[in-house]
Symmetry: C2
Subunit: 266 residues, 2 copies
Amino acid sequence: MLIIKVGGGKNINWKHVCADLAVLARSEPVVLVHGASVKRDEVAQKLGITTRYLTSPSGQVGVYTDKSAIEVMSMVYAGLVNKQVVAMLQQAGVNAVGLSGADGRIWEGKRKTNLIGVENGKNKLIRDTYTGKVEQVNTDLLKLLIKHDYLPVVTQPAISFEGDLINTDNDRNIAVMARDLACTKLVVLFEAPGLLQNADDETSLIKKVKRTEIDLVMYQVSGRMKKKVLGAKEALGFGVVEIYWGDARIKNPVMSALAGNGTVIS
Amino acid sequence: MLIIKVGGGKNINWKHVCADLAVLARSEPVVLVHGASVKRDEVAQKLGITTRYLTSPSGQVGVYTDKSAIEVMSMVYAGLVNKQVVAMLQQAGVNAVGLSGADGRIWEGKRKTNLIGVENGKNKLIRDTYTGKVEQVNTDLLKLLIKHDYLPVVTQPAISFEGDLINTDNDRNIAVMARDLACTKLVVLFEAPGLLQNADDETSLIKKVKRTEIDLVMYQVSGRMKKKVLGAKEALGFGVVEIYWGDARIKNPVMSALAGNGTVIS
């Protein structure tokens, strides 16, 4: 089984991704996980919803997913992009089934309540944030669909143990999925050729990262890339043997990543 | 098996609907179909997308579902409302799985291309409309989920044979679902006590409609109610024996409708 994660960037070439999946899915069960962050931001802006941020007492800045933020997230991830991807896969001859992490509790975890945020220098108790961490995966449902030749296309939101829709981290989610599905290979596609030595220079591709070097890499990257490295580290800890990072903008993006043309972490 | 359709009105009490489904689903397989028209209009307006209408040469007015309209529809039906309903069912202890008609081609049909519309007194060929008619249902997927104790929650959009997302009519869709699933009972809930003699008078409830009277009823109703009656007529033609119309705003809305407190068409 192969878990493939595709980012939510503007220049993801979904036609190319779907064409590859149509070929791959014939010989190996595939679970697709996708983002939609750029489209989410675009729709949120049009709706007049500004992304709020939360600064923790230690200074870490995270997204403050309030009620309207989780609603926009559900709309864009599970509604707009998920169904567009499903339609494209169907056009490519793949019987895709789009699901959010809430459906059948595919991604279930703990909602973070009682967060402490800093506002104007003062600590403040934040209770209305819909964010959390996936702890378990409904592998029965995923396996059931795969067994009957459906390709699951999974996205945000996830669901809390209490049944609230929550925003979680896809990079961590694929690690937990790999653990629970006993999957040893991950493909992660985004808008770069792979891990770059210098984020602004696409020719500075690092082709191989040994699992022992992952902590070192963590110090070299920043922003969203840090989350990807953290997810990769978790996945390796959960038994994943090889992680293929690759470019989602090119032709045959999945095949190319699997051929080692991006970054291979092993 | 019971197919339950809940409308997309503002005052639908989803808490009450979900509480009933939690009890019902213990003794009988249930498929839930829902709308989201009011929320769709609200989001479309905020996004600055105005609903376009199409007048046919014979004078019939229908919604003109262009690219942006089908996108908003996917967002609100399959993303926002579908996942909110799934979360509420999960909170009520029901393992709900939300799906659009595109997922696994649950609702598959013909996209209407080459429509003729009248604009400024002139006939015009309309090619960019994403609307259609469901012809077949992926009963295998629905039965598979039901067999494994999931409650399918199905909504717009559907998918065309060519793989385009299309806007279809839920009242017709439940008729086709009843036919393909060999289901003899339908429950249809909306924001009225049932079929009314006088649309403005909620006390003018018609408690029983014989199947032979359905054509007569068609001439007495207008607007969205006409579509409901048309759907009921189709369902009866497809082998449905009893259709229960009831109020989605009250406590125990499903049980109440099944007890004959709304309109029973048989």
